[in-house]
């Protein structure tokens, strides 16, 4: 499905690119300079993390550039397990979240009645409650269900935590898809589900990706729930593992920065791979091909 969608879109891209290109050929280098300066300023705090991760830690004899912080965290801590757990939790959260949120988002987008509006509002109210008030009751509930120190318990909470926003994001994207596409499918005898899965979802890749990224990053960076619910160190996620380097009044900064870099790597790789799908034009391109 993905490949096919991309193909349809890509067919529309060259023309569009060209038009935008002509319009801005002269300013291209100015824009490059602008984006370079902006990006540089924006990522200074992050460059600092990278620099500190290759700087010798306080009790080290090494000087200059060193990888000993990485060597330390990979040999002395369970960082591989943490990475695995984080990836697994984030992946399951993303997939389940999209599976739950896309149909619900479709309802929000296409259904326009009292019930749907109230549901949209309830989703919102629920999302508004701060997680600090929910941690303890959820823990009591989950410990009765045997979901403590269990990656599954954390996944369920993350799906719940991302769901409302994901539904809203999907709904916002579905709104940009003209209903005429579905109507055409209905005339061909498709069911609502059929038109949803074959027409709407297929044209929603940018929306799904945005939502997936949102869910991924929430699951990836969440700390409080993971800390409270995951107890054994082989079950930690990276955020919880990262905090094991903080002592009462001090921290092992070399390890903190090394694990931070480990934490940043998967999202950077994923974004880089997915990047070409972001830049693929939206629904306009696919319409042009019809």
């Amino acid at each position: 499905m993905t490949a096919e969608t991309a193909n349809i879109r890509l067919a529309g891209v060259p023309t569009k690119r060209r038009r935008l290109g002509e319009q801005g050929e002269r300013g291209k280098w100015w824009r490059l300079l602008a984006i370079f300066v902006i990006t540089l300023i924006m990522i200074i705090p992050i460059i600092a993390v990278f620099v500190l991760s290759v700087t010798p830690s306080q009790n080290s004899t090494a000087t200059g550039f060193t990888l000993e912080n990485f060597a330390h965290v990979f040999t002395q801590t369970e960082v591989v397990y943490w990475l695995e757990n984080s990836l697994l939790i984030a992946a399951v959260t993303v997939v389940v979240c999209i599976i739950v949120a896309s149909p619900a988002g479709y309802v929000l987008s296409r259904g326009r009645n009292k019930w749907v509006s109230s549901y949209a509002l309830i989703l919102f109210v629920v999302q508004s409650l701060p997680v600090v008030t929910a941690v303890i009751p959820l823990f009591i509930l989950f410990s009765n269900l045997g979901l403590v120190d269990n990656l599954g318990g954390v996944m369920i909470i993350y799906v719940g935590a991302t769901m409302s926003v994901a539904i809203w994001m999907m709904a916002a994207y579905f709104d940009s898809i003209p209903i005429s596409l579905e109507e055409a499918a209905w005339i061909d005898g498709a069911s609502v589900f059929g038109s949803f899965s074959r027409v709407v979802l297929r044209n929603s890749l940018p929306g799904i990706l945005s939502t997936a990224i949102f869910a991924f990053l929430l699951a990836w960076n969440e700390y409080l729930v993971a800390l409270v619910f995951l107890r054994s160190d082989v079950n930690y996620t990276l955020t919880v593992g990262l905090n094991t380097f903080f002592q009462q009044n001090a921290a092992d900064w070399g390890s903190v920065m090394a694990v931070s870099v480990v934490m940043m790597a998967p999202p950077i790789i994923i974004f880089s791979v997915l990047n070409k799908y972001f830049s693929v034009g939206g629904i306009g391109g696919s319409l042009a091909g019809r």
């Binding site: 306080q58 941690v135 009591i140 410990s143 045997g146 403590v148 120190d149 599954g152 082989v234």
Partner: protein, 445 residues
Amino acid sequence: MTQQSGAAFTRRAFIGAAGGIAATTLLAACTRTGGSTGGGNASGGVLKFWNMPWGTPAFLTEDKKIIAGFKKGGFTASYQQIQWANFTTQFATGASSNTGPAVSSGGGTTSVLYAHDGKIQYMDDLINGAWTTNGLKDDFLPGMLDALKTTEGTTGVPYNLDVRPAWYNKKLFTQYGLQIPTTWDEYKTVCATLKTKGIYGFGVGSGAGNNIGFHAITGFMINNGGGWFDSNQKPAADTAANEEALDFVLELVRQGYSDPASSTYTNQNVYTQWQNHKIAYGIDTAGMAANVTGAVSSEVAVADPLTSPSGNKGFLYFPNPMMMWNNTPSKTANQDLITYYYQNMAPLWTQKTGIGLPPLKSIANDPTVSGDPNNQKIIQDWVTPGIFKTWGAPGNSGVFFNVANTVDGTQPTYTFAQQVLTPSNRQTAKQMLTAFQTTLEGLMK
């Protein structure tokens, strides 16, 4: 089944399930592995032991080794590290869902807090029984066993002493021909000299997660015979002794002897300023020499306790407890575990894992501990003469339930310290103490 193998099983189940992400498979995997959280009965089982990272990563390694060695009456112990960030949440969730530890360490007030909720197994039987026979009771440094005693019983025993001595930079003091101050007046003179060199003499911070600012202010009050509580365990902030002490601290701040940015300094910021030679005297933990990097690490040394104008000495410390919990498969096994731990915990200090000072004489006198000049100085000149007092000062020797609600890491204490450390704040000591007295009364339970 131990916690570890249970966890490994969870992992395998999930990796297996990850292929087909069917929600049913997931939930089945969840429920199948649930409940492997230790337990047992009177004839044997696993005791859950929780501890915080009191020192460097080496601490965890040594500590796990000690716990792994426990085996008595069919019981063994499982280890769990409790991170400092949000540790209260971890104890609260554990206690309220009965998934908490059997034996644990905790923050300075954890044992009195949960004893109030009926979750703690009192230690008096053990101390007056087995520990008297085997000599552990006599091995505690003077006054230690009273530090966590409430009217109901002994909620825990000190596990490590988190002290707040004064530190100074030897090199800078020599360079500018300064003597270690022994009185408040001498200290002020030292600060004035340092100021002319662009160096701060009152080096503390009160930023995110850094409560040493409030500890230092409290320390000066105790130094002057003051403190926050009277002998009825009621707040007594607004006293003459406190006012005199706070006036002194405010003078240090407003004369420019402290960094104007220090009200928002984290611990790391303060250490950075020591490293930058911007601080030459300040209040910190016993482990400061290990927390500053580079050459400064060997330049810093513990200073002498100051004598206040009223002739008093004194400062603040936290007897961090080890405690037993009622939620355990066997209360006898709890006693066995804690006894075993206290008899075998010496390596945490002898291996220099960065934990605070030991509560036991036998460990404090070990050459590897007393051989460190800073440790030796703290034990000889600060701990042994009884300089250090708890949060309960001046009215009480130990901590109690309301200490946890009022002064131990609560948000108003940060605010108070930040106000004190802000030079542009023009409130008088009296005004601030009157307001803080009201705040403390409002936090009492």
